[in-house]
C-alpha cells in the first residue's frame, strides 16, 4: 500500500513536472530550428531561420529553385533538398501555434508566398523603421540577414522588444 501511494505521488510529481517544463516552451516565442540537416546546410551561409517565420507555400517556392537562391547557388542534392523541404513545410507558420506564427499567417494574403522573411507584412511592418533608407538619420543596415545583431536572444527563439540591442526609441523614431 505504501508502495502504491509512493508511486501515485511520483506519478503526480512527474505530471506536474511535465506541465511546468512545458510552460516555458509554450511561451518561448518562435521555435528554434533543431533539424541537423537544415541547420548544417542552410546555416552554412546564413542563420538557420525558424521554419515558423514563413508559410509552407514560401518554403516550397524557395526550395524549388535553390540553384538561384537570391542570386547565389545554394544547390543541394535531390535527397537533401527534399528532406530540408519536408522539415520546413512540416514546421512552417501554417502548422505552428505560436502567437508570432499566427500573426504571420493572418498578415499574408491567402495563397501568397513571400520569399523573403522581410516581405511578410507582419514582419515588414514591425521593421518599417529599419527598412526605411532614411531611418531617423541612422545608416540603414546593409542587410537584415542576421536577426541576432538586434535580437540578442534569438538563439532561444526570443524576438521580443525587451531583448533588442538598440533602444526601442531609436528603433521606432522616424
Amino acid at each position: 500500500m505504501k508502495n502504491v501511494s509512493f508511486r501515485m505521488h511520483l506519478a503526480a510529481c512527474t505530471a506536474i513536472g511535465a506541465v511546468v517544463a512545458a510552460l516555458p516552451l509554450a511561451n518561448a516565442g518562435v521555435m528554434v530550428p533543431a533539424n541537423a540537416t537544415y541547420v548544417k546546410e542552410c546555416g552554412a551561409c546564413h542563420m538557420p531561420y525558424s521554419p515558423q517565420l514563413l508559410p509552407a507555400a514560401s518554403w516550397k517556392k524557395i526550395t524549388s529553385h535553390l540553384d538561384d537562391h537570391f542570386g547565389d547557388s545554394a544547390k543541394l542534392d535531390a535527397s537533401t533538398q527534399s528532406s530540408v523541404t519536408d522539415y520546413l513545410v512540416a514546421n512552417s507558420a501554417d502548422r505552428a501555434n505560436s502567437s508570432e506564427a499566427r500573426a504571420i499567417m493572418q498578415s499574408v494574403n491567402g495563397g501568397a508566398a513571400p520569399e523573403r522573411i522581410t516581405q511578410v507584412p507582419y514582419i515588414r511592418d514591425l521593421h518599417a523603421a529599419v527598412l526605411d533608407p532614411t531611418w531617423n538619420g541612422h545608416p540603414r543596415p546593409k542587410t537584415l540577414t542576421e536577426c541576432g545583431v538586434c535580437h540578442r536572444n534569438v538563439s532561444q527563439g526570443n524576438f521580443t522588444s525587451k531583448t533588442f540591442s538598440v533602444s526601442d526609441e531609436a528603433f521606432r523614431g522616424r
Binding site: C45, H46, M47, F70, G71, D72, S73, A74, K75, L76, D77, K142, T143, T145, E146
Partner: protein
C-alpha cells in the same frame, strides 16, 4: 587460419584490393584523378593562386567578384560571406583539418562558388589548380 586475424587483417585488405582502395584514398587525390580524366593536367598551386585573386565582373550587378572577396587573401584567416556577412571558417587544412576531407562537400562548394564568382562552372583544370593550392596552405 585464426578467425580473428582473418577478420581484422586479411578481410579489410582483400576488400580494399577488390574496391580499388577508393574509399581509403584522399578525397583531393581522387578528384584530381577525375579532373585529369576530364582533360586537366599538371595541376599547380601557382595557377590556383592566380585564379584565386583574379577579378570577375558580375554581369547583373556589375561588381567585381573573386574567391578572396569572401575567403580573404589569406586562406588561414576567417572569411566573411559577401552577402549575409556570416563568418566562414578558414579554408587552409593546416588550421582547419575539416577542409578537403569530404569529397562531396568539396564538389558541392566548387559548383556553387564557381557559379557565383566566375559566372560559370569551373573547368577541370581550374578546379584541380585551386584544390592543389588550397591543399598547400
Amino acid at each position: 587460419m585464426n578467425m580473428r586475424r582473418f577478420l581484422l587483417v586479411r578481410l579489410p585488405v582483400a576488400l580494399c584490393l577488390a574496391a580499388g582502395c577508393g574509399a581509403w584514398a584522399a578525397p583531393v587525390d581522387e578528384l584530381l584523378q577525375e579532373y585529369q580524366a576530364q582533360g586537366g593536367k599538371d595541376f599547380n598551386a601557382a595557377a590556383g593562386d592566380k585564379l584565386w585573386h583574379q577579378f570577375f565582373k558580375d554581369p547583373k550587378g556589375g561588381e567585381d567578384r573573386r574567391c578572396a572577396l569572401c575567403h580573404t587573401s589569406d586562406l588561414r584567416a576567417t572569411g566573411k560571406h559577401a552577402v549575409t556577412g556570416k563568418a566562414i571558417k578558414p579554408l587552409a587544412p593546416s588550421v582547419n583539418p575539416e577542409r578537403l576531407a569530404d569529397k562531396s562537400k568539396i564538389e558541392k562548394w566548387l559548383e556553387r562558388n564557381c557559379k557565383w564568382t566566375i559566372g560559370r562552372a569551373c573547368t577541370p583544370q581550374e578546379k584541380g589548380d585551386v584544390l592543389v593550392m588550397i591543399r598547400s596552405k
